[in-house]
């Protein structure tokens, strides 16, 4: 990876592209050029991108396999719904509270479990994710096993676009910062990183908390889009869904995670009436990717302007 020089022209061009993308889709939605079916898929795509990119920070860049991402999403979803639905606060308060609560949950879970390594950590996070679900099932205030219904639809395209963009900017910049280098060094060799004076626990917990925070954000957006939340939505199969995206895209590639999230959402939408086949495909993706391309489609490479330029112009 290389350090990019800051350039104003590039910045302006990027902002222009993003604004154009946003207005185009917003225009298509308001004029109903984009049917409701596509709008739903576009929105789940954004939520999945946030989930996949944030899990990729934990699993891919930090190298700590977490199987409890849906648990943090659940925390975010429930806290935001309590804020808007029960306490009648504005949506922004719900979203911020969701992020904070999920980050706090990430901290509480991360500090003890991140001492564990590899497969033990995977199982412990899976356990915590399930505990969050079971606890939610037993709280009557949030409806117990049947969950909360009739949530006001507050998630708009603007919210989704901004949230996805913020997630991407924060995580890409984090990975390219000195913090990010430290995080990657933990993945590459924990003992060596420690010898270089890196406080590995601190960086692991930091990555975990940031990942959890964005999962909470995704949860809040999810809850205010689909009218209903219940604990079973956030079981470990949901965590596996996100894992499939990260594994397929490449552990340690943000663009890979985005591409895989888009691909998997499209696949899910296409196979909506065949849920069993969808899960069989997921299973095969996991097995085949691990056997034939364990680094995922993108490996730890990013797709940037250079790749696009090469594809476009055919020169290096």
């Amino acid at each position: 990876m290389q350090i990019y020089k800051h350039s104003w022209t590039r910045f302006v061009a990027e902002v222009a592209v993003l604004v154009a993308l946003f207005t185009l889709v917003q225009y298509a939605i308001t004029t109903e050029l984009l049917s409701q079916y596509y709008e739903i898929n576009l929105n789940s795509m954004c939520i999945n991108i946030i989930l996949a990119v944030s899990l990729n920070l934990i699993n891919g860049f930090t190298g700590q396999l977490s199987l409890g991402h849906a648990g943090f999403m659940a925390v975010g979803a429930y806290v935001s719904v309590i804020m808007t639905n029960r306490l009648d606060l504005p949506f922004i308060a719900g979203v911020l509270a969701a992020c904070l609560a999920a980050a706090l949950a990430g901290f509480i879970i991360g500090v003890p479990t991140l001492r564990l390594k590899g497969d033990y950590l995977a199982i412990a996070t899976l356990g915590f994710g399930e505990i969050i679900r079971v606890v939610l099932q037993n709280i009557d205030y949030v409806g117990g096993p049947s969950g909360i219904m009739g949530i006001e639809k507050l998630t708009t395209w603007g919210w989704l676009f901004a949230s996805t963009l913020i997630t991407l900017i924060v995580i890409i910049n984090l990975v390219n910062s000195s913090y990010g280098r430290a995080i990657i060094s933990v993945r590459e060799d924990e003992v060596a990183a420690e010898l270089m004076g890196i406080n590995t626990t601190r960086y692991k917990v930091m990555a975990f908390v940031i990942g959890a925070m964005f999962a909470g954000l995704a949860g809040a957006l999810y809850a205010h889009y689909f009218y209903i939340i219940k604990p079973d939505t956030f079981n470990f199969l949901k965590s596996f869904d996100i894992l499939v995206m990260v594994v397929l895209g490449g552990l340690g590639s943000t663009t890979g995670a985005v591409i895989a999230a888009i691909f998997i959402t499209t696949l899910t939408a296409a196979l909506q009436s065949f849920p069993a086949i969808r899960m069989i495909l997921y299973a095969l993706i996991l097995i085949i990717v691990m056997i034939y391309r364990p680094q995922g489609l993108m490996g730890n490479k990013e797709m940037g302007r250079k790749t696009l330029a090469r594809l476009w112009g055919g020169k290096k």
Partner: protein, 293 residues
């Protein structure tokens, strides 16, 4: 006290089932350091084979169990050859993700092939009689589960301790390279381990069918996870640990659902797991070994 003894007895038969599944986890982990996530689903396949053998072929419960064990031994070896063997030298995370894939595959392939509906074990297969003495109820279902599990565990101990195959298994789990130098075929030993572990899971599957009376494609997930917790509790890779851990988990679960909300009984299993991982990750029977650089 009477209530306590009653819960204890219920816990013992449930624990025997968990112990059988936990043995498979522990044996596979001991030999190739893989958490075989699909183990609970192999149990589910075993339960289905038992179910069809009872309802379609009309066999008795013991031959149903033998059929299930044979079928799952073959499936277990097959899975190992296709999915896990190519990954033997890659990272443990890669192998774990593959195992999750295999698990999802077994669940949803069964769901696709047989439908999501729950099937009830034929009543004629097992006539339930309850025995009462001193206010405690013991059914022949509990006795059947408990004693067949104990018999299987004794057979397993015999295989591991007394036979040449068992010796090879112990050698491979101790030091794979040295075992190769001694002329032991690692591939063959790993296959045998998978065959034995899967057949124990299949037996447990038939027992769960008898115990809860129903089978469904996703029935393997929760018992599988609990048995995994049992294996970790006893010290993963240690065979007596898995047996003790299984019984402890079974007793704990019946105690929790007996004395407080049954909704919490799944959370308790994970609570135990997290506690044990934080306090003594090597398990009750494990020895502490420092990490080598």
């Amino acid at each position: 006290m009477q209530e306590f003894t009653q819960q204890m007895i219920n816990g013992l038969s449930l624990g025997a089932i968990y112990a059988l599944i936990a043995l498979g986890y522990t044996m596979v982990y001991g030999i190739i350091k893989l958490i075989n996530f699909a183990h609970g689903d192999i149990m589910m396949v075993g339960a289905y084979v038992g179910f069809f053998s009872l309802s379609v072929l009309g066999t008795n419960i013991l031959s149903a169990m033998v059929f299930a064990m044979l079928a799952c031994a073959i499936i277990g070896v097959f899975i190992e050859k296709i999915a896990y063997k190519p990954l033997r030298n890659s990272t443990r995370i890669a192998a774990l993700i593959t195992a999750i894939g295999v698990s999802l595959f077994l669940e949803y392939a069964t769901l696709f092939a047989l439908g999501p509906a729950q099937r009830v074990f034929p009543e004629t297969a097992f006539q339930v009689t309850n025995y009462h003495f001193m206010g405690i109820m013991v059914s022949n279902k509990d006795l059947f589960v408990f004693f067949s599990a104990v018999v299987l565990m004794i057979i397993l101990q015999y295989i591991i301790k007394m036979t040449k195959t068992g010796k090879a298994m112990r050698a491979v789990s101790e030091d794979q390279e040295a075992a190769v130098l001694m002329g032991i075929s690692v591939d063959k030993t790993v296959s045998i381990t998978f065959a034995i572990g899967s057949s124990l899971a299949a037996a447990a599957g038939v027992m769960i069918g008898v115990y809860y009376n129903t089978v469904n494609p996703l029935m393997g997930i929760i018992p599988g996870l609990k048995a995994f917790v049992a294996a970790v509790l006893g010290g993963i890779g240690i065979i007596p640990g898995a047996m003790v851990g299984g019984f402890l988990m079974g007793i704990l679960e019946t105690m929790v659902s007996g004395y407080s909300s049954s909704l919490y009984r799944d959370a308790v299993a994970f609570g135990v797991l997290i506690l044990i991982l934080l306090i003594k990750p090597t398990g009750l029977f494990g020895k502490n070994t420092g990490e080598k650089v």
